[in-house]
């Protein structure tokens, strides 16, 4: 209930209390223009940031940090385990070997993680790109449709103007013909 109380809802509960729309054409045109301006101000930057995200490398960068950090954590776990068992009966050579194994593991881990991150980053970026292209197709389709309608309106206007001109010309020729005919008839008296 509290959720609905906070919404800025209109309190009109009856159709008869709705304000009359005096000029629907203007309202329609104003609302459409305002909607497009809202899109530009609210979503254009967001769209551009998302388009640039197709070249994102955050997973790759993160994987480097992760590999090093996880090696440190694992080294700490190993250290604590050894201390927990009072050195665990490890000789100096065994301890050195543990450290070498850890170093090798860290490097292999870094390389392996990086390769996997490259593949996964590519997958995410490709999917984003495909989705963006899909959205772009709709944008293109709408833009072309709008241009087509504008062009059709311009063509209709031009055709109407040409028709009016042709009609006028035809009238003038008809008038000339009538006058000439009348003059011929007149002088043949």
């Amino acid at each position: 209930m509290a959720l609905y109380d906070n919404l800025p809802l209109q309190k009109n509960t009856s159709v008869s209390s709705l304000p009359e729309v005096k000029d629907p054409e203007k309202v329609y045109s104003d609302i459409s223009r305002q909607d497009y301006e809202n899109y530009l101000s609210n979503f254009r930057d967001f769209e551009e940031r998302l388009i640039s995200a197709k070249d994102d490398t955050s997973l790759i960068e993160q994987s480097r940090e992760d590999a090093l950090k996880q090696s440190q954590i694992a080294r700490g776990v190993q250290q604590r385990n050894v201390e927990r068992y009072g050195g665990a009966g490890l000789s100096a050579v065994q301890q050195q070997e543990q450290q070498r194994a850890m170093q090798r593991g860290t490097q292999l881990n870094l390389a392996g993680n990086l390769n996997t991150a490259l593949i996964q980053q590519r997958e995410v970026n490709q999917r984003t790109l495909a989705d963006l292209i899909n959205i772009g197709q709709g944008v293109n389709r709408n833009a072309l449709q709008g241009l087509g309608e504008a062009s059709s309106m311009a063509a209709n206007r031009a055709a109407a103007y040409n028709n009016a001109k042709a009609q006028h010309k035809s009238n003038m020729i008809g008038l000339g013909g009538s006058l000439a005919g009348a003059a011929l008839a007149f002088f043949s008296i």
């Binding site: 209109q10 159709v15 459409s32 992760d66 490890l90 997958e123």
Partner: protein, 208 residues
């Protein structure tokens, strides 16, 4: 002849008015209620740290599985730590990748919806332009019709005038040449009547 059109005959019907009022109210409701939701979703899709959540869960799972039960064998193992690091890194990467994928999906959803609304606005503008263009064309067509009607009327009047004038002139041709018939325009506009010649002899003095 038909009467002049009355403006009230061309006013919107009650249904049309209600439809426009309801549509406008719904649009305002949408802008007030759903518009902010989409903007909120846009901000969330950029700000919310899904990666942090996923990575935290992945780390907890790994550590629970591999380090929750310390043992002497593990402490003495040469490669236990390296394995732990490798598994934890791989899990972190999985978490990050899934979170990034989910974030992008959400952002694409927001953009798709916003683009859909922008497309509706664009189509609305095109439709408004079309309405305006149709109105202009209809006005031009109506003007052209009036112009044509005036022209036709003028042509008819002119033709009738010339025909009548010619008839009038012809009527003088059959009358006596001695009669004073006045000037060209007089003969053109006035048909010959015998009474005319009787009433006009003193004017020209030609019958003397």
């Amino acid at each position: 002849m038909s009467s002049k059109p009355k403006k009230q005959e061309y006013q919107a019907s009650e249904q049309e008015k209600v439809s426009a009022a309801v549509s406008k109210a719904e649009k305002e409701y949408f802008d007030q209620t759903y518009g902010p939701l989409l903007r909120e979703m846009r901000d969330l899709s950029e700000r919310e740290d899904l990666g942090g959540l996923a990575r935290g869960a992945a780390q907890a799972d790994t550590m629970q599985a591999l380090s929750s039960r310390p043992s002497l064998a593990a402490a003495r193992s040469v490669d236990q730590a390296a394995d732990l690091a490798s598994a934890a890194s791989a899990q972190q990467l999985q978490g990050s990748a899934q979170a990034l994928g989910a974030q992008r999906e959400r952002q694409i959803g927001v953009l798709g919806t916003a683009r859909g609304q922008a497309a509706d606005a664009q189509a609305g503008l095109a439709r408004a332009a079309k309405i305006q263009s149709t109105k202009q064309l209809e006005a031009a067509r109506a003007k052209q019709m009036v112009r044509q009607a005036k022209f036709n009327a003028a042509e008819q009047i002119g033709s009738a005038l010339i025909a009548q004038g010619r008839k009038n002139l012809d009527s003088y041709g059959q009358a006596s040449e001695q009669a004073d018939t006045g000037g060209f325009f007089n003969r053109f506009f006035t048909p010959y009547t015998p009474a005319q010649t009787q009433s006009t002899p003193s004017k020209g003095g030609r019958s003397g």
